[in-house]
Amino acid sequence: MAVQQLRKSAGARWKIERRPDVSTGRQFVAILLALGVSFVVSAVLIAVAGASVGRAAVAALHGAFGDLRAIAETLLQATPILFTGLAVTVAFRARLFSIGAEGQFFAGAMGAVWVCMLVGDRLPSAVLIPLVVVAGLVGGGIWGAIPGLLKAKYDASEIIVTVMLNFVIFFFLAFLLGDAWRDPSSFYYQTPRMPAAAQFPELIPGMRLHWGFVLALACAAMVYVFLWKTAWGYEIRAVGINAEAARYKGISIPKVTVVAMAVSGAIAGLAGASEVPGLHQRLVLDLSSGFGFTGIIIAMLGRLHPLGVVPAAILFGASVTGISAMQIAVNVPVAINQAIQGVILIFLLMADVLVRYRVRRTNPRV
C-alpha cells in the first residue's frame, strides 16, 4: 500500500510504502524514539522555565524511585491509569475508538459510593469490599455498554457518544454532589466519607499505596487471558483486525461491539472503585486528573498488550511523582506533566509512521 510517489530524476522511482508487517523490534524502536524525543522536549521546557535541567532530572528520579516511599507513591499514581489503560486496550483491540474511560471511571466510582450509601456500615470488610468492587464494575460496565449498544443498534459513532457521555456523567455527578449526595456537614461539593469497612487496606504499612494496585495487576493478567485465551477475546481481536472477514466467519459484530465496550467500561469502572475506597474515601468532582485520556496514551504506548500496558502505566505514574518532586526542587509548573503526555503521544504516532513505512526503489521501466 504505497501512500505517495516521489519521482527522482527521469528513470528511478522512489516509493514510500507501508510495510506488510511490523516486527516487534521495530515497534520497540518506535517507543524508544518517541520517549527519547519527549525527554528532549521536556528538558527544553524545563530550561525555558529557567531551571537547571540536571537538578530537575535528579529531583524527578529521586522523587519517583528514590526510596521505598517514593516507589510506593509511583505505584499509587500508576494504579488508576493502569486500569484505564487496560480498559482502552480492550476497546481498541476491537477497533472501537472509545474515549469514554474518563466517564466510566466516574460511573464506577459512583457505583462504589452508592452501594455504600445503600448498605451503610453494617457489613464487615470481607463482604463490603467485594461488593464495592462489583458495584464499580457494574457502574462502569453500564456506562460502557450504552455507547456499545448505540453503535450496534443505530451505528452511532462510539467516538462521539463516549465523548458526550463523559460530560453527561460529570454534570450528573455535579448535580448529585450539589444536593442529594452532598455531605451536609461540608462546605464543599463532596459525599460523606465511606464506611471504614469499605476502605482498601494499605499494601505497605504507613504508606498510601493500597490493594487497588494488586487488583490492577490481577486485572492485567485477566485482560490477557480474556483477549488471548477465551472465545469472546478471540472474536474481539478478529473484528479488530478485519471486521469484514470476521463477519464472513460468522462472528456477530454487534455482539462483539457491545461486549468489548461493556468490558472496557467495567475495567475503567474498576479504576473508580479502586481510587475512591483506596485513596479518597469520598466522591469529589476533581477525582480524576484525566485518567481516562491518559489511559489512551498508556494503551498506545503499551502496544495494546497488558505486558506493555503495565510498564507504561508505571512510567506515567513515575512521571507524576517525579514532576511533583521536581516542582518542589526547582519550581517548574506542574502543568508540564500534561504537556509531556501530549508530546509523547504525538511523537509516538510520528515514530509509528517512521517504522511502518519504508522507502523503496522501484523498477523504472514498469
Binding site: 504505497a2 465523548v163 457521555l165 501530549g342
Partner: protein, 315 residues
C-alpha cells in the same frame, strides 16, 4: 416579580445567549469545514485554548486587541496545519492526534501562563480591557430587540455572518461541492485530478483558525483575563454542535444558540442568586446531542468518509 424586571432579565438572558454562542459558533463552523473535507478534528478544544492564551498574551504585551485576535487566528491555524499534516499527509489516526493536541494544549498553555505571570497569584490575575460592544446606530435603539441583537461585539456579528457564508461556500460554489466530495467519496474527487490532500490541509487549517478565533473571543471580548483551561469544554461543545446540527450551517447556528442559552441561563441565575440545579441543565445539551445522533441517522448528513484516511493506491 415586576414585569419591568422580568423584561430586563429576559433581555440580558438573550443577549448573553448570543454572546456565549459566539465562540462555539466560530469553532463549530470551522469544524464543519474540516469534517466536510473528511477529517474529524478532535483537537478543537486545544486549538481554542491556545488561541485564547496567545490572544491574551499578545494583547497584554502590545495593548492591541486586534493584534491579539490576529495572533490567535494564526496559532489556531498553525495547530490546524499540524493536525492536517498528521491526518491528511501521514494518515495517522485522526482521533489520537486530536486528543494528543488537546493534552499538549492544556498542559502547554497552563505551563506558559504560569511562566509568563510568575508573580501573579490566583487571587488577582492580570486583566486587559476587553473589546467594547458595537452598538449599531439606530437599530440598537429599538427596545428589546436592539439590546439583544444589535448591541453585541463585532466578533459576534462576524460569527453570525459566517453562517450564511459557510452555507454559500458549501452548497453554492464548485469549490464547496468538491470539498463535500472529498468528505463523501475521496476517490471520485481524486480521479478528477483534484489534490485532495491540499484541500484537506486548507480545510483543517481554516478550522484551526476559527477555533483560535473562538478562543480569542473568550479572553479578549468575554472576560479580559486568562485562566487555565478557560475554554472549559467549549471545543467539545463545538464538535457536539456540528453533530447536533446534522452538519448543516443553519442548524449549527441553532445548536450553538442552544448551548449559549444554557450557559447564559446558568450565569444569569448565578448573578441573581437563584439556587437551581444548573448542573442538570449544563449536562442536558450533551444528552440531546446523542439523541440527535441516533434520531437523525436515516437522514444523516454526516460525511461518508469522515475520519477514514484516504490511501490513493488502496481499494
Amino acid at each position: 416579580m415586576s414585569s419591568l424586571w422580568e423584561a430586563a432579565f429576559i433581555t440580558s438572558l438573550l443577549a448573553g445567549m448570543l454572546r456565549m454562542a459566539t465562540p462555539i459558533l466560530f469553532a463549530a463552523l470551522g469544524e464543519l469545514i474540516a469534517e466536510r473535507a473528511g477529517i474529524l478534528n478532535l483537537g478543537v478544544e486545544g486549538m481554542m485554548l491556545t488561541g485564547a492564551l496567545t490572544g491574551f498574551l499578545v494583547a497584554h504585551a502590545t495593548g492591541s486587541l486586534w493584534l491579539g485576535t490576529v495572533s490567535a487566528l494564526a496559532t489556531g491555524g498553525l495547530l490546524g496545519l499540524f493536525m492536517a499534516f498528521m491526518a491528511a499527509q501521514l494518515k495517522v489516526d485522526q482521533i489520537l492526534v486530536g486528543l494528543a493536541l488537546n493534552l499538549l494544549a492544556v498542559g502547554g498553555t497552563t505551563y506558559a501562563y504560569r511562566l509568563a505571570f510568575k508573580d501573579v497569584g490566583a487571587k488577582n490575575p492580570s486583566t486587559i480591557a476587553t473589546f467594547e460592544t458595537l452598538n449599531i446606530p439606530l437599530l440598537s435603539k429599538i427596545p428589546f430587540i436592539g439590546e439583544v441583537l444589535f448591541s453585541q461585539h463585532l466578533l459576534t456579528y462576524i460569527a453570525l455572518v459566517l453562517v450564511p457564508a459557510t452555507y454559500f461556500l458549501l452548497y453554492r460554489t464548485k469549490y464547496g461541492l468538491e470539498l463535500r466530495g472529498i468528505g463523501d467519496n475521496p476517490r471520485a474527487v481524486d480521479m478528477r485530478g483534484i489534490n485532495n490532500i491540499r484541500r484537506q490541509v486548507l480545510a483543517v487549517t481554516f478550522g484551526g483558525m476559527m477555533a483560535g478565533l473562538g478562543g480569542a473571543f473568550l479572553t479578549l471580548a468575554a472576560t479580559g483575563l486568562f485562566v487555565p483551561e478557560v475554554s472549559a469544554g467549549r471545543g467539545w461543545i463545538a464538535i457536539a454542535v456540528v453533530i447536533f446540527g446534522n452538519w448543516r450551517p443553519q442548524w449549527i447556528l441553532i445548536g450553538a444558540l442552544l448551548f449559549g442559552l444554557v450557559e447564559s441561563i446558568q450565569l444569569s441565575l448565578q448573578a441573581v442568586g437563584v439556587k437551581v440545579a444548573h448542573e442538570f441543565l449544563l449536562g442536558l445539551p450533551y444528552l440531546l446531542t446523542i439523541v440527535a445522533l441516533v434520531f437523525n441517522r436515516s437522514r444523516s448528513q454526516s460525511p461518508l468518509a469522515l475520519g477514514i484516511p484516504y490511501h490513493r493506491e488502496s481499494r
